[in-house]
Homo-oligomer: 393 residues x 2
């Protein structure tokens, strides 16, 4: 693969960067947010919709696609891009995170992870080599090594052992990976332990990956700790390689983490929140089910340029959600994805114009994040609804 990333501008007052990822399916301006299309579909949207929202790259889940429809079906279809008719770049995760969070993990060793499918209970043994085979079969532009994803709150010894195993697995993935049209990233781990983060960053950069993900964050730890870990990790990563923070997608986190030097993000948050009736605006997250929208004849966000806001009143959206109409989920998804995609476009422009620090301050001053307790409660509710949840999962 020729040069993957070109750094174009760095903010003189923060760590923010503007660049471009070059992939076999076209360039992606950064900072970039990747919507999640777990099962080869960004829920409710067609590829045409994604394009018209300004989405440049998406993420798909190896775990889900390996179990259903299976790698062979995707490969026979000509790969993930053709299967889902999305001609832009795709990144696949390794499946590790889902094995730990959705699959029923049966046995974990240095060899790999034995788990039961959440769909039919069938048993599978995911090794670093199989994770690469799966992803080579799916054919994404950027692929990830298998990693161990311990929950937040483990002690130093636990996290150290998991991190070391992820390093071993990263090496095995690197040895196995053969597709020259795919970029295999390294994933820095280390939980919330500064010394482990630094060690992980050093170890992985010595392996010379074309890009680096930062994993094991955004798992319920306080935000200060997330930022502290970025500060430990990012200065040790090569300047000219892209940096990808996994699982971050709230507006305030995106802006804050761009300032810490992150180039890429993925998260199901904007789309999942949308399906649950939460709409992002520049000031805060609004809940469309709120009675105040019952007779609101203006759009939910008068400052928004998305199809939903240009076309429908908040009263109509309120009605659709009250009736649990499928169109409501789609219109909310459109709005929220346009919001975060537009936010990334604005950060990029501000970085290039040299005004990012002011942009960031203004945004974070204006935006009222959802209360941490409310967020934790929502996340818990979602986790408890289980992997079979539909259609709002």
């Amino acid at each position: 693969m020729s040069q993957l990333f070109q750094l174009e501008k760095t903010c003189p007052r923060t760590g923010a960067r503007a660049g471009t990822l070059f992939t076999p399916h076209g360039p992606v301006p950064t900072p970039a947010f990747l919507p999640v299309g777990s099962q080869a579909t960004v829920k409710t949207l067609t590829p045409d919709d994604l394009e018209s929202l300004g989405v440049r790259m998406i993420l798909a889940n190896s775990y889900h696609l390996y179990l259903r429809p299976g790698v062979d079906t995707v490969r026979m279809s000509g790969g993930l891009h053709r299967f889902m008719a999305w001609n832009g770049p795709v990144l696949t995760d390794s499946g590790g995170f889902q094995v730990f969070s959705l699959g029923h993990l049966r046995r974990l060793s240095d060899d790999g992870a034995l788990f039961r499918s959440h769909i039919d209970g069938s048993e599978h043994f995911l090794t670093p080599e199989l994770a690469i085979e799966i992803q080579e079969g799916l054919g994404a532009d950027i692929v990830m090594p298998l990693d161990e994803c311990p929950a937040y709150g483990g002690d130093l010894g636990t996290i150290r052992r998991a991190t070391e195993r992820s390093h071993l697995w990263a090496e095995r993935c690197l040895r196995r990976h053969g597709r020259s049209d795919q970029a295999l990233f390294g994933i820095v781990h280390g939980g919330t332990f500064a010394e482990l983060r630094r060690e992980s960053a050093r170890r992985l950069t010595s392996l010379d990956f074309p890009g680096y993900a930062i994993g094991g964050l955004s798992l319920g730890e306080p935000k200060e700790l997330t930022h502290a870990m970025l500060d430990e990790t990012i200065p040790l990563l090569p300047r000219e390689r892209p940096r990808y923070l996994m699982g971050v997608g709230s507006p305030e986190d995106l802006v804050e983490c761009v300032a810490h030097g992150v180039d890429m993000f993925d998260s199901a948050l904007p789309t999942r929140l949308g399906r649950n009736g939460a709409f992002f605006t520049r000031e805060r997250r609004l809940s469309i089910g709120n009675a105040c929208f019952k007779a609101e004849m203006g759009p939910i966000d008068p400052q928004c340029d998305c199809y939903t806001c240009r076309t429908f009143s908040a009263a109509y959206l309120h009605h659709l959600f009250k009736c649990r109409e499928l169109l409501g989920y789609r219109l909310a998804t459109i709005h929220n994805l346009r919001f975060v995609t537009g936010l990334m476009e604005q950060t990029r422009r501000a970085i290039i114009d040299g005004t990012f620090a002011a942009f960031k301050d203004a945004f974070l001053q204006r935006y009222q994040p959802t209360d941490a307790d409310v967020r934790a409660e929502q996340k818990q509710k979602w986790i408890e609804s289980g992997p079979g949840r539909q259609p709002l999962d």
Copy 2:
């Protein structure tokens, strides 16, 4: 209202007609199929989608919109068209059918129908006058009088009394209706009794409605009886007025009933079947969940010009339905609506070209209708799932 309907061509060998409905929101070429948007949304689709499918007119349900969001919200929004951002013509039913099928009917008299909402149990008294008030508030282009909708199988006396009540109500609706930009149709009833049908047609035509609906059919009676009732009714309706058969939407029924002289149809069948994974083709209805589609790399219907068939393989659609992904419901809706809309375009062209009889014979010879028992079972399953069913109802 100026002239509503212009008859353009009549098939010399069947009763089929081609014409145009002229409404305040534009012309509608007939024969026309109206997709159902019960709650001011054709499930999963935007108005843009509908337009690109060639849909020219839709139906919305007074019962649903009266209960939620309420007529005031729609009126304050500037009417149904602006509320749902659909600038084409709209027809609303009177709410009668839903009161009898969804609402918990408490008391029925010549005055009207007392029912409990299926949403919150609140009590409402629907009179002919209220049905008109509701529909004037919603602002559709074509509106319907309140009618009594007895189930199929009632005896002559029962159906006679219901039909006579519907006539009284039709007269009251006519007296109450005041919006000159709306056309109020009459609805011919009489169940499956030829003499009642003829009587109803004579009685209603004497009231000089600008168009005539044929109600109380497609309620589970044998198809021969449906056709026989059309033969009793249609010759008594004025040639220069549009004829609208309520609740018919299967491909074979559409073609057959066009041949009997029907100009307009509505039915939730194509959209509801789509959400349940049944795809129309020129030969038959296919079930996308069938294992034969798991590795089918071609489109579900190679002869179809819709977005779904032009863009996605049957294997991908199979995958979406197996995963209960919302995009699957939308892609199936697009396909089935394009199928019936295209079918109406073809019948119209054939009528104008003078080749309709041959078109009809060829279509009905080729198309294998779904087995009557299977259809009855599917309908029963749907009815039993109750009015609160979501999201596939």
